[in-house]
Symmetry: D2
Subunit: 327 residues, 4 copies
Amino acid sequence: MSASWWLGFDIGGTRTKAGVVSEDGSVRRTHLVETGHESFEVVWERMLAIADEALAAEGPDGLAGVGIAAPGVVEPTFGVRNLPGKVPGIEDFPMRERLEARLGVPVRCINDGAAATLAEWRFGAARGHDDVVGLTIGTGLGAGTIIGGRPLQTTNLAGGVSFGHATIAVGGRTCLCGNVGCAETLVSANAVVGRMRDYVARKVPSTITEAYGHDPGAITFRTLVEGVDAGDRVAKEIMQQFTRDLGATIVTAIHAYDPEVVVLAGGPMAQADHFLPQVQAYVDRYAFRYPKERIIPIRRAERSDHAGVLGAVARVMQSVADHAPAT
Amino acid sequence: MSASWWLGFDIGGTRTKAGVVSEDGSVRRTHLVETGHESFEVVWERMLAIADEALAAEGPDGLAGVGIAAPGVVEPTFGVRNLPGKVPGIEDFPMRERLEARLGVPVRCINDGAAATLAEWRFGAARGHDDVVGLTIGTGLGAGTIIGGRPLQTTNLAGGVSFGHATIAVGGRTCLCGNVGCAETLVSANAVVGRMRDYVARKVPSTITEAYGHDPGAITFRTLVEGVDAGDRVAKEIMQQFTRDLGATIVTAIHAYDPEVVVLAGGPMAQADHFLPQVQAYVDRYAFRYPKERIIPIRRAERSDHAGVLGAVARVMQSVADHAPAT
Amino acid sequence: MSASWWLGFDIGGTRTKAGVVSEDGSVRRTHLVETGHESFEVVWERMLAIADEALAAEGPDGLAGVGIAAPGVVEPTFGVRNLPGKVPGIEDFPMRERLEARLGVPVRCINDGAAATLAEWRFGAARGHDDVVGLTIGTGLGAGTIIGGRPLQTTNLAGGVSFGHATIAVGGRTCLCGNVGCAETLVSANAVVGRMRDYVARKVPSTITEAYGHDPGAITFRTLVEGVDAGDRVAKEIMQQFTRDLGATIVTAIHAYDPEVVVLAGGPMAQADHFLPQVQAYVDRYAFRYPKERIIPIRRAERSDHAGVLGAVARVMQSVADHAPAT
Amino acid sequence: MSASWWLGFDIGGTRTKAGVVSEDGSVRRTHLVETGHESFEVVWERMLAIADEALAAEGPDGLAGVGIAAPGVVEPTFGVRNLPGKVPGIEDFPMRERLEARLGVPVRCINDGAAATLAEWRFGAARGHDDVVGLTIGTGLGAGTIIGGRPLQTTNLAGGVSFGHATIAVGGRTCLCGNVGCAETLVSANAVVGRMRDYVARKVPSTITEAYGHDPGAITFRTLVEGVDAGDRVAKEIMQQFTRDLGATIVTAIHAYDPEVVVLAGGPMAQADHFLPQVQAYVDRYAFRYPKERIIPIRRAERSDHAGVLGAVARVMQSVADHAPAT
């Protein structure tokens, strides 16, 4: 089986990525396709072309399976079931059926937030653990969960994927999802940017207000880190809040899922030195765990470059293993 | 197999209950044992006596398995692993091993909070569903979770059991568990009683203050309901808060676990008419679900009388089914 | 004028106090009268008897004026205008008119919360200052204000007296006054007791829970201090909250009234070592003041033993001085 | 005295306004001077030129006094005592002394936030009342207070002026003044803009997000009103919050100062139909007042066009009246 390889796709709103992945998770070759605003049929044709190209390059015999990560509510053995407005035609598209018919190998689909966690579980920072929570701190707060050595899977397809919308601030602000006080309203790059913009609008003296008072649209998570490094009071206050709220979100994840390890991904993790030790301390102080001395490590994701591709491959690998004849 | 029966135990801090349970979940006979402050060895002897008595009464052939529900961190194939201070000797006691050796049938253990959910899943309000969350609103907030047709089970044994300690009010009050802002600090009979006692201490005009100003220790959840029925402003305010916080807790459970149905148990459910419709409305408004039109019903528990016994039996039943030879 | 003396009354819900006061604020003699549940006419007769007794003892010539402190909305040149239910008949009673007719000296009335501040301003910790705020941390949060060297006095009689009901926690809990989030809901002995009772009801591990779990009605502010001294986590948390909220209340008073000094009275001040330095630090950090280096000292009341009597006397003294012919 | 007139100045950060004011508050003539970034000496020369021009036009005999409104900490009989960085040289400038020496009439200075309230008290919506609170909802939250028929005046010069920094949300966000949870952090045009920017940054579906997602710097208070008119959920939520917080601020002002009437000024008042009735309802429900049936009306400012000029004139008028010989 040493020559076998896997194909992974990561469908995004603006572009789709494909990768040829070895059994051990090394990514041998990647392709990018513009997703644009075209109908999904067009995107699909480009994905097929990539598959053909990969088969031509790698040889037809080794392909063991195909995984597809996509945004929205995803049914593993079908494709995307719900993704309002983003990619026309994707909701009705039987990805798995079409691709299995064409390639003759197992195909599985997965939510892209969950994929990031599977990538870490199978190939990255959570390797070897059966109980894992992964959070992706991006424009929103993505989530994925492994329990008992398997991705959490529910009848209605959203198991573990919506955890970023756990209510951590009852009575809090409305989230883009319609709920109030979601973790995502406080723990995401956008939430932190929104908080900085509020201080700037109120002209609170700060390096941030000085630099971005006339262009609040240019504030990013990096702005916060620069402010903290400059010793700015407002930046430190917002960072503290972010740290506490991220800590509380992780404590909630621990109380909900009882993981052995938590993995964090997303843009802000490039500046994790500024908050990860404090978040770990918060979790060490407040999370219940058994045995008591156990530390639940909060780790940086290692496979973020190819999170979607690798998570999709991890998903189909698991399915293949499940159906393998016992030896 | 029609004549087979099961034995369930529900070990509590003050008393232990046993029940003979039919395949369909009907409880044929129950026994009560004082747990007292004695060492667990003494309690155990009484449990064995009950088992002997049941075998004598039912006949020795039909016993299919034994389930044991207990507080604390419970290992299904061992017994209690962690239960600080409550029942001396229980932490080291190999319940399953001892009982299997004696009775020759499968034995499984389970956390009592989780047991309540298993009872509803197998025999009660959540029958027929593969994804279930159960919450027990008692002195604390117990929880149990079924995902993909199986009780959530993790390496470190607390999966789903600690969900009552999800942080729903970041920056909130300290909980008995040591965390801050837990659902349990707001959604439990004790939390509601604590809130009433605060209003009484502050002499806020209210039927509650009038009736219990000189005896705040006598306030119970029922007091709240009576106040609401009397049109009392304070009671209505506290009930509203409770309703919202319970709603937010359930929304969080839905976003974490994606259940098809939520079951609520516990003393306050006797007055569920006063808050359940509002909680359902909160959930209908704020919970993400797919498909969109889907209602996630919040149901009253039906098997609360024997929750621990039935949940323990459900647990061992599942284990027996897992190990049954395929036909 | 060296031989002149003043008579002060402090009418309370359960007893009324009278005192003979020298020009310099020394209290030469005091009397106590039960206020009971009798009509105010009865109380008044007893007050007159005390006045007669005082005149007999001191000699009739020196009496310079009479001050009366009373709860509720008080009109200085009339008496009590509003005091729901507490002392029958007091609302219609023309105290000043009756007493001036009988004794032939100036009589003035004042709210008892404001009286405490006047006592400190004229005879105690705020002597020599023209801008003073006084807060009395008791079962509620009383307040009084001196601005520009005069007690704050408004057309509708409540000026400065209701400051304990400033909203410091928007969206907070209902106060006995009907408003929500009042300082009094957080900063009063009763509020602190209410908070402790909440933790006890929720069985949060604590020396307080241990000692008062079975008798929450016996918890007092002292309980908190004992818990802090014992290093108890819950007690420290509640004390921190109290300290912060008291600090925020004083900052609000400073931003509203711009005092030179703040004086705190009330039972909890006996334990002021446990919180006063922290409150001062909070105020030093957060209060705006001009000039910038200025410290606004937060002082302990010095005349609490006779606060009502002395404040009432201070009130009539000021009135006499106002009407004195210029020299 | 029917021919007498008054001169008022309103010194701002970018421009200074002057006006000739009749005894009855009608403004006969106004002038504008750029304040720019020049030293105050330059501005002063321009102010003198205006005074000369006015004297030439009105005739020299009728000038009864000059009032000067200015930002910062203002001493009535001196000028500005504290105004960090905004107008170089203004802090040391003896305005009153210089102008009295030159013109031979009484001159008085006043904080511009307080001036707005004096304008309403003497010439506008609060005419005839002795106890008045005025709030100006602008980029910040200005305040002024009349008590007992006189502007509140304290030794340290900030009496009533800092009320916008009353803490109404203990534990809240840092304000530009350095305090946390100030009314100004929630009740000001900038605070509302900051809140909208937060929702936009978090991409919460809304007409605001649609229109300003790419240009958050262009959001204004008007944006909120347009959103409410369009039925937008986010706009309605933010407006509700603003309404509640403004209500809580006014309740706090009432509990602090016991006014007969509250006057609101500032840009958002152009859209007062969208929130004033709700604010009045909040106040009617939550504010303590005596007598109970009394409504404390919350009125729109009537003299906002010349608030600073008229308030300054009101200030010097009062001073002249104080020093007038009794008749």
